[in-house]
Point group: C2
Chain length 311, copies 2
């Protein structure tokens, strides 16, 4: 398999941000640059390179500026997380042309993350959206806790659909529904994705998902999303990104395991799985601990012998 622009699904790797942010290990700028380069070389659609939040809150992301500078032109295939307009300033100052904002579907989660109501966060995203349009910067938005909130529990379908519609109206190009704490199950993913796709139909919005495998439903959820028409998926190399106190128990779905499942299912990711596995092994070595992904441990299934069409 070689990296190709022929894709049926667009996979974004969030390991350098969502992954490393919660990992007990401390990677150097050199390591982070190497990680991003390996991911891009393997053919992932985008890499979430870091975030522009206060280093007081997330000290591990304090070097994102430096990582982006060191990447040079390769940063053109990267995105980054910004919590507000100040983050936007820093992102464009270092030359990024692709940024991600976040709003939580649950008010409690939004307050805990951003210290304000979802309404205020939407207003901030609106300001960023106007500047992004003027600056030619591509804007994404992540809807956190779209499938449930650890504080509030249930999040209503209507709340999420309303957010999706308003984000689309603000000019956001990609909207990602995030299962922030890994509570979603396949029928729920199918239902919310279908309803959200209807909401943005004809608006030129790419709808995606951001899944965690906290309770072993992540890959089933990814497949359910694929089945209803989702073509944009976040994943994290090695499946890193969980709670630092139980590093193997939680985490984003692993990019290599997602790519393995999709490619074996005849769904083209444009990603070189072997390169991804080498990158995952390298990452585990740099982190100094095992990672939750399984394909690097078991080995991929050779495509030529296990033809899916043969049953």
């Amino acid at each position: 398999m070689t990296h190709s622009e022929e894709r049926d699904v667009w996979v974004v790797d969030v390991a350098p941000r969502d992954g490393l942010q919660n990992d007990p290990a401390e990677l150097t700028v050199d390591d982070k640059v190497e990680l991003v380069r390996r991911l891009l070389a393997a053919g992932v659609y985008r890499v979430e390179v870091g975030s522009f939040v206060s280093p007081k809150w997330v000290p591990k992301m304090a070097d994102t500026d430096e990582v982006v500078r060191r990447l040079g032109p390769a940063a053109g295939r990267c995105t980054c997380l910004i919590p507000n307009e100040r983050g936007y300033d820093r992102a464009v100052a270092v030359g990024l042309k692709d940024v991600r904002t976040v709003v939580a579907a649950s008010a409690t989660m939004n307050r805990k993350n951003f210290g304000c109501e979802p309404e205020d966060t939407l207003a901030e995203i609106g300001r960023v959206a106007r500047r992004a349009q003027a600056d030619g910067v591509r804007l994404w938005a992540v809807v956190a806790t779209a499938f449930g909130c650890p504080f509030e529990g249930r999040v209503s379908l209507g709340t999420v659909l309303d957010l999706v519609r308003r984000l689309a109206d603000l000019g956001v190009r990609e909207v990602l529904l995030a299962d922030t704490t890994g509570v979603a199950v396949p029928p729920q993913v199918a239902r919310l994705c279908e309803a959200s796709l209807s909401v943005v139909a004809g608006m030129g919005i790419q709808l995606g998902i951001h899944l965690h495998n906290t309770r072993n439903t992540g890959y089933a959820n990814a497949f359910a999303a694929w089945q209803v028409g989702i073509r944009l998926m976040d994943a994290s190399l090695g499946g890193i990104g969980g709670c630092p106190f139980a590093p193997r128990a939680t985490g984003n779905i692993a990019t290599e395991d997602l790519v393995h499942m999709l490619e074996r299912s005849g769904i083209r990711t444009g990603i070189d799985l072997e390169a991804l596995i080498r990158a995952s092994d390298w990452l585990a070595d740099r982190l100094g601990h095992g990672v939750p992904s399984l394909v690097p441990k078991a080995g991929p299934v050779p495509a030529e012998v296990y033809a899916v069409k043969g049953g």
Copy 2:
């Protein structure tokens, strides 16, 4: 949630056999009896209590007779693996009324496991089937390597369907399609299950699946099987059952993680998830090592707060 006979899906726990057989730990007869009792108390449909193979080949199963005797009447909800008529003799001698035979869809795997061709194994199953019918013993059959073989690679759909049809003709009551080495992906599971369901339609056969999560596709495969109408599923408490040299990398799908996904999806298993989680914690303690399941680590999602219907 309490254990109930109201089920939409029938889950068989194979931890005492497929799980322990490959685990580096050595459990005592006391521990095995306790494990089976806990699984039955949680409400699983059947427990695969052990196997009647030569102790020379699988020394860890040498105490299956003793475990069954110690279980007393509780063994009435257990099944066991038998490789041949001699195994059948031992199973009925200890009073079991429910036995499982195996035949591999790949000839190489069948030779390695049983030292003979699949045709010879089918003849043996035929002999066992006639005796089981006369003895009032319920007979299952597992089709190993139904989704691919580590030696031969691809296994054709026609080969598996032919086996399913012939097993049904022999009077087998349950036929399980096994992804022995965790190579299957959801569309493959859907296709083979659908085709197999057609083959046995109207014959009074319950068709099931036996999945491994070797490459993180196990739960997605289980959901795909559910979607096409499969209502019988093997799983292993803790997700144990992998290669002893990489205990976290492989293994059966975990009963607690499967039950969590199904119940949250509104699919009734008749199983008490909390009891299963306590059993899983107890098992990990007895094994002296962590187990691959994730729900015990992350905690289940409280049903009352995360209502699926709410999105």
